[in-house]
């Protein structure tokens, strides 16, 4: 596979907004935990704040734009600005957005309008914004992007599926660059389902490397990367050299024990058992999920961390230090890094692996 350069980064999540905030959170090993009200009690959430979007768009422009699309817009604007690209041609930039669950809150707002006042009072604005590609539409309108646009719904494999398409478009020269994003939002229904599925008692610290426990804390956010084909100039961050997606029933992701592995484990004992079974003991690993929480955006944030690490050619210490529960090697000290991978397993054996390097 020909390499893709990461040349722009935009992100918002529980740790804050932008690569500066993520870097600070990585250096301190923590992110501020919020709480939201859920059914009369407090629900811990690594929550994204989109108020920085007002530096790009005024209130009038944002009036019909929901939280999901705001996170997406914030990520997209930042990534394009971060690319420091003089005179980009937006008609030659493709847009790929992945989301595990889409604009859930807006879908339920639409149902509210129907349940409150009847079918004839269904809100057309809520409906239009609940359609999965609404965020892509808003981004294309604001950034004047008239090239190909693709929105993907693939749960935890949304990012890697998007990378496959981004690579496709770049290698066929359909576009000169791809703005690739992954976005997911919290809503009370998701929080409620979370509590029904996971028996998480007053979780405060995530220990995702403990594969036998459920310690997940919910997260939300958006990550956008500007990707371009390999070229003469060095990438701003690093290059994605390979992308692998499949199912463990048929194939395995490639891992090289000399390259550290950022694990997208989320403190779920369901998928935890898959990690436990398939990780070699001598494989150095790191996990930063506690900074952004569990959601399909997690691997997007992992990719951002990998990009930041390659830029400084040093991997950040793992936020989960492995305690006494992780039997293998955890990267607990900063270490020189020019090649690494991001790996995520799903509980049905799905895998998503992204391999990166910097010359």
């Amino acid at each position: 596979m020909s390499a893709m350069q990461i040349n722009g980064l935009g992100l918002v999540g529980g740790f804050g907004c932008g690569r500066g905030d993520l870097q600070q959170a990585l250096l301190h090993g923590r992110a501020p935990l919020s709480h939201v009200e859920l059914r009369g009690h407090s629900f811990p959430l690594l929550q994204a704040d989109t108020s920085p979007l007002e530096t790009y768009l005024n209130k009038r422009a944002l009036r019909r734009i929901d939280h999901f699309s705001r996170m997406a817009l914030l990520g997209a604007f930042q990534a394009m600005a971060d690319a420091e690209w003089s005179d980009p041609d937006p008609s030659r930039v493709g847009l790929v957005i992945g989301s595990g669950y889409g604009a859930m809150r807006t879908t339920f707002d639409f149902l509210d309008s129907v349940l409150d006042d009847g079918d004839i009072c269904a809100s057309p604005t809520a409906f239009s914004n609940s359609v999965h590609n609404a965020a892509a539409a808003h981004i294309s309108i604001q950034l004047k992007m008239t090239g190909p646009s693709l929105t993907i719904s693939q749960f935890d494999q949304s990012l890697v599926s998007g990378l496959v398409s981004a690579h496709q478009w770049l290698s066929e020269k359909r576009v000169d660059a791809v703005l690739l994003g992954v976005v997911d939002e919290y809503c009370s229904v998701a929080g409620y389902c979370w509590e029904r599925y996971f028996n998480v008692q007053d979780a405060r610290t995530m220990t995702p490397l403990d594969f036998t426990r459920t310690s997940a804390v919910a997260g939300e956010g958006a990550v956008f990367l500007l990707l371009q084909s390999d070229r003469d100039t060095k990438p701003r961050y690093g290059s994605i050299s390979n992308v692998e997606m499949g199912n463990l029933s048929g194939s395995q992701p490639t891992t090289v024990s000399s390259h550290p592995l950022i694990l997208g484990c989320e403190g779920s004992s369901l998928s935890g058992s898959v990690y436990q079974k398939h990780l070699a003991v001598d494989q150095p690993v790191a996990c930063y999920t506690p900074l952004y929480g569990a959601s399909p955006v997690t691997q997007g944030f992992d990719l951002a961390v990998a990009a930041l690490a390659l830029r400084r050619q040093q991997l950040f210490p793992s936020v989960d230090n492995g305690g006494s529960y992780y039997p293998g090697k955890v990267v607990n000290e900063p270490q020189a890094c020019r090649k690494l991978s991001c790996l995520k397993y799903g509980f049905n054996g799905e895998y998503a692996a992204i391999h990166l390097e910097r010359d």
């Binding site: 009038r60 009036r63 006042d117 004839i120 057309p124 604005t125």
Partner: protein, 84 residues
């Protein structure tokens, strides 16, 4: 509350026109295009708003277009339908 005043408030609330106050919406001002700047999606949202807050149905856009021109035209339309 007078229909026109209620309409202006409901418009601001339901269409999320945070940067506008009821006093700033002229009774005769064009709601679409160059006036208040609403668009086709706002138009269909307004149909729902009128149904929800005034119990009046706009059957289709042939009926809707002239009614939705301004606060005046919309208030007149609502009054006529409510009295019918």
């Amino acid at each position: 509350m007078e229909i026109k005043e209620k309409l202006k408030q409901v418009l601001i609330d339901e269409l999320n026109l945070e940067d506008v106050t009821p006093g700033e919406i002229g009774d005769d001002e064009a709601l679409f295009g160059d006036g208040l700047g609403l668009d086709s999606l706002d138009a269909v949202e307004l149909v729902v708003v009128v149904q929800k807050h005034f119990g009046v149905e706009i059957k289709d856009m042939e009926e809707g277009r002239p009614a939705l021109q301004s606060i005046n035209s919309l208030a007149a339309f609502i009054e006529a339908k409510q009295q019918a």
